[in-house]
């Protein structure tokens, strides 16, 4: 399996470098957290919140970073390959197609990462003092949350892509998921600004773990019940994986019945 994964990563990395211009635009399209940063920094300067401007700058920068590590497009790829029949070639091979899609995403991160590092440098120059070293523990936990968040996002997107076997078009469903993510993940505002009851409810949903949790960990902000948070995140990721597996099996039966 290691040899397979290495071959996949090397080939798909080459594939992604063909689209490096496109990845740059994708990266730029993910700059929305900086827009929200500007709004909240201005609000803090006006004294409209208890947080100081620099903490907003730090928080939203890490929201941006977490989001960059979690970008997925497998809904589009699957939906397209189901419709045009290209999935058939993957089904003819003795390996689960999921590995292809996963390797494509991991390889893309390899192309995206250097670009993110450049943005880190630019941010560091623009907001001196915003980036602080919060220790290896916070760095590791933030990365772990981002990795689990990526897998959760990936399996949800995979499930939505598979729905193309039943629906004629399933990519709009991912947009619906994205809207929920925007509203409830801490992408628009740090969740500590939400009413207590709403926040308590949201922490049982998958959304806060996709932006708020890694950003707060990296920013060195106190995260109440971090252990439980990781447990809920791991639970949602496992559930999404199980759903993806179940739907894949049911989808194959349908694909085999209906054809490409």
């Amino acid at each position: 399996m290691v040899r397979k994964l290495l071959a996949f990563l090397s080939v798909y990395y080459a594939h992604m470098t063909v689209y490096r211009g496109e990845i740059l635009f994708w990266l730029l399209s993910g700059l929305a957290p900086f827009f929200f940063m500007a709004i909240w920094v201005a609000a803090a300067r006006e004294g409209l919140t208890d947080r100081d401007p620099l903490s907003f700058a730090r928080y939203f920068f890490f929201v941006f970073a977490a989001r960059q590590l979690q970008v997925v497009w497998v809904t589009w790829t699957l939906s397209e390959e189901i419709k045009n029949g290209a999935l058939a070639f993957k089904l003819l091979k003795p390996l689960d197609p999921l590995w292809h899609y996963l390797a494509q995403h991991l390889a893309e991160r390899g192309v995206r990462l250097p670009m993110i590092l450049v943005l880190v440098g630019v941010f560091w120059l623009l907001y001196p003092g915003a980036l602080v070293w919060t220790g290896p523990g916070a760095l590791f936990l933030g990365l772990l949350a981002s990795l689990l968040g990526f897998l959760l996002n990936f399996f949800v997107a995979y499930v939505l892509g598979l729905l193309a076997l039943w629906l004629e078009e399933s990519t709009d469903l991912y947009n619906a998921w994205y809207v929920l993510f925007m509203l409830f993940s801490g992408y628009l505002a740090p969740l500590d600004l939400y009413p207590e009851a709403v926040r308590a409810f949201l922490f049982w949903t998958p959304f806060p773990y996709l932006a708020y949790l890694p950003a707060a960990l990296w920013a060195g902000e106190p995260v109440a019940g971090a252990g439980r948070a990781f447990g809920v995140l791991a639970g949602w990721t496992l559930l999404a994986w199980l759903l993806a597996r179940g739907l894949w099996r049911a989808g194959l039966r349908r694909f085999s019945a209906m054809g490409a």
């Binding site: 040899r3 397979k4 290495l6 071959a7 996949f8 090397s10 080939v11 080459a14 594939h15 063909v18 689209y19 029949g85 290209a86 058939a88 070639f89 089904l91 003819l92 091979k93 003795p94 390996l95 039966r253 694909f255 085999s256 019945a257 209906m258 054809g259 490409a260």
Partner: protein, 328 residues
């Protein structure tokens, strides 16, 4: 030896959504879907022995591709029994997938923006082909197909012929024992068609592989297959040797005439069925029992410079079978 492919009473029925054109049709389609049942394959039975190369023929929509997809495990049959190398294809077990391949002339598995070698590398990893063996196979296939020079070029920069050769290379890299080839020469020029044919023939001979091949080009079938299976509107019309096909469905010979002066088809019609007149050349189909008398009459009555009697082209025979829809 045990049969490699066994298809018994193989049938496949699809439900296809139907939609009327225009805005109203779209609204109706949105509110309530209407489905039509399509019987693509109806009770087809045949067996392939190890090492056989069999031509699978039929007009568009006859059910050829659906049958191939059932044999390759992409579709499960609505009825009947299918076994390939002892496996039920639709279970898609690794042992089965490692020993078969399906090439579709109108679809590609090659990574469009990358060199051919990158797709081959992915396939080598998927099929667990050790590195030295992978290199040996790439070298061998590239030499057989004469595409050594293009392996490092992006697929999108290759000609159609080069792409199909590379596609075959990717499809056979794992040395499958059973090849399902669906129109592998589609759209290729004569030279590329010949190269693909030679490659398939050589691979099948050297590896002892069994091949089921569909093609619209009779030259492919004549060059590769000794046995043909004809399918029309989902039903099997004929299964047997090429010669038997001609004997059964073509009880006539083709007479080629080279004339002193051009003649109207009407002037040739009394001697047989006129299939082509071009300047001073003409082709007629004459029933075998009437052949001697017809030739004698033509030599006596027409300004014949040269006359030849041949078996009719396979295209003619098969076209006639399909037009008449004759059941075997």
């Amino acid at each position: 030896m045990e049969d490699v492919v066994v298809a018994e009473d193989l049938s496949k029925t699809y439900l296809v959504a139907e939609k009327d054109p225009g805005f109203l049709g779209t609204l109706r389609h949105f509110v309530r879907r209407r489905y039509k049942r399509i019987e693509a394959v109806k009770g087809v039975s045949f067996r392939l022995r190890p090492g056989e190369i069999v031509g699978f023929l039929g007009p568009n929509g006859a059910g050829k591709t659906t049958t191939l997809k059932m044999l390759a495990g992409l579709l499960y049959p609505s009825r009947g029994r299918v076994r390939v190398l002892g496996y039920a294809p639709f279970e898609r077990r690794p042992g089965f997938l490692k020993r078969i391949t399906l090439v579709m002339g109108n679809k590609a598995q090659l990574l469009w923006d990358l060199p051919v070698l990158d797709t081959l590398r992915i396939n080598a990893a998927v099929y667990d082909i050790p590195e030295p063996e992978y290199r040996r196979r790439v070298e061998r296939f590239a030499a057989m197909l004469e595409i050594e020079a293009i392996l490092t070029q992006p697929v999108r920069k290759l000609s159609l012929g080069e792409r199909m050769k590379a596609e075959l290379m990717a499809a056979l890299l794992h040395h499958p024992r059973v090849l399902f080839l669906d129109e592998p020469t589609l759209g290729l020029d004569v030279n590329a068609q010949a190269a693909v044919r030679d490659f398939v023939r050589r691979y099948a001979r050297e590896e002892g592989a069994t091949v089921l091949l569909t093609s619209h080009y009779m030259a492919d079938i004549e060059a590769l297959a000794e046995r043909v299976i004809l399918i029309h509107r989902g039903r099997l019309l004929f299964d047997g040797g090429l010669r038997a096909l001609v004997a059964r469905f073509a009880p006539y010979k083709e007479v080629r005439l080279d004339l002193e002066a051009p003649l109207e088809p009407a002037a040739l019609a009394p001697y047989g069925e006129v299939v082509g007149v071009e300047g001073q050349s003409a082709r007629l189909l004459v029933e075998k029992p009437r052949l001697t008398a017809a030739v004698a009459r033509m030599l006596a009555a027409l300004p014949v410079r040269d006359l030849a009697v041949e078996e009719p082209p396979l295209e003619e025979v098969i076209g006639r079978v399909f037009r008449e829809g004759r059941l075997g």
